[in-house]
């Protein structure tokens, strides 16, 4: 699972609608980094879609700044028009190149843990969570 998708994912348990984002990532295996092609247009469009406080929090929690050797991302949304190349590249690397392979996603509100195996989070709910 990429950090981009993590940045859009909320807890799906019924009635869990406050504080259900972002899900806390607990790794049981270090993240894998796969280089992908940088697309400036797409990165610029993502500025408006990303939840910046959550992104900064996740990147810091996973220690991605040191791992990737990139400057820290702001926790407030930058201006899409004036964003410079360095910021867009850093964004691209965090959002699209980092993959969570094994671990779990834990909801900070209700405590539900979604396991991640082979990079696929299991989002299925049980009967009483619907």
């Amino acid at each position: 699972m990429k950090i981009l998708t993590h940045n859009m994912l909320m807890c799906n348990v019924k009635g869990c609608d406050k504080g259900n984002f972002p899900l806390r990532i607990e790794l049981s295996e270090p993240v894998s980094i796969q280089e992908t092609e940088f697309n400036e247009d797409f990165a610029r469009r993502l500025i408006g879609k990303v939840d910046w406080p959550a992104l900064a929090e996740t990147a810091a929690a996973l220690g991605l700044y040191d791992k990737l050797g990139i400057p820290e991302l702001p926790s407030t949304p930058p201006e899409a028009a004036t964003a410079d190349d360095a910021l867009l590249k850093a964004m691209h690397r965090v959002l699209l190149e980092v993959q969570v392979i094994e671990g779990k996603l834990v909801c900070n509100n209700c405590g539900k843990a979604y396991s991640v195996s082979k990079g696929i989070p299991n989002m299925l709910l049980t009967q009483d969570e619907l």
Binding site: N7, M10, C11, N12, F42, K49, K118, L124, L130
Partner: protein
């Protein structure tokens, strides 16, 4: 050949052997790719703009490959683990989730530029487990789908309904959740090439709130195999529907807007016409139609 929907629930039907079979079958690959291309065409994403697309029921990522070829980033959800594992083996570009779409999609509001689904939605109409209510699951699915789509975004869902009732159930559920749009039927006159595409619009990007329905293919008795050509003339095959909540269609009314007296001549003619279109046996209209019987002696 019986329909897979009648054999078992999707997470059980698409087991490891079935998932492998499905993905390596060149005929299925070709059909999937063709349907995805068509769905993408109906999705009408802005040209040359890389978009974020949700693939509902992505399976082993056959449809996702087409999305990636077109330069889009995709996120796929599916309920069959073996299918997703095949997708991982094939090293698809998209992000995968093991997810039951009937449990709702919990993505943040307005993140996706579009959504597609190829041959998946009809599974929602089955009650495979205790406590599954197809109506509820459809409503939850469409409600949450509406939320995670950006304003003006479209969802194109290709379905294999097992009959008009099922199709009606799906469209009604979508309409109740605020979607506008309708059904596009490609090659309506062919049994094999006939394809149903449910095109849904989440709000509209234009100011006047009107959206042009896409045209169906192969409407004018055109052969099913020459599907490269687009038929431009007329599109009478599109069943349009509007959001019913905005202004419910009123009861049968007279010109003055008053409610017509029950079983007036107009009412009777109207009903006979309706039954004729349904193919029922109806007596011809005459000057006596809708007249009261004379009283008994």
């Amino acid at each position: 050949m019986s329909r897979p929907e009648e054999i078992g629930p999707p997470e059980i039907f698409y087991n490891e052997t079935e998932a492998k079979k499905y993905t390596t079958n060149s005929r299925i690959q070709e059909i999937q790719a063709r349907m995805t291309n068509r769905a993408l065409e109906l999705l009408n994403l802005p040209p040359d703009q890389p978009s974020l697309v949700l693939d509902i029921g992505c399976g082993s990522g056959l449809s996702g490959d087409v999305l990636a070829e077109n330069g889009h980033t995709w996120v796929g959800i599916d309920i069959s683990k073996p299918m997703l594992e095949v997708a991982v083996e094939r090293e698809v570009d998209g992000d995968l989730f093991l997810w039951d779409m009937g449990e709702g999609l919990s993505f943040r509001t307005g993140v996706f530029d579009g959504a597609i689904s190829i041959s998946a939605l009809q599974w929602l109409c089955n009650a495979d487990k205790k406590g599954h209510e197809p109506h509820k699951r459809l409503r939850l699915f469409f409600n949450t789908l509406y939320k995670c789509l950006a304003r003006g975004a479209r969802a194109v869902l290709q379905v294999y309904p097992n009959g008009p009732d099922q199709m009606n159930m799906i469209t009604t559920a979508a309409m109740r959740c605020g979607f506008s749009g309708g059904l596009v039927v490609d090659y309506p006159n062919s049994t094999r090439a006939k394809k149903f595409f449910l095109c849904l619009f989440a709000g509209s990007a234009t100011t006047d709130g009107r959206v042009e329905m896409p045209k169906a293919k192969g409407v004018d008795g055109e052969g099913s195999d020459s599907d490269e050509e687009e038929e431009e003339e007329e599109g009478p095959r599109q069943a349009r529907f509007e959001n019913r909540a905005k202004g419910g269609k009123s009861h049968y009314k007279t010109k003055e807007g008053k409610r017509a007296s029950v079983k007036s001549r107009d009412w009777v003619l109207n009903k006979k016409e309706r039954q004729r279109t349904q193919g029922k046996h109806v007596r011809p209209d005459s000057k006596y139609t809708g007249r009261k019987r004379q009283g008994a002696f």
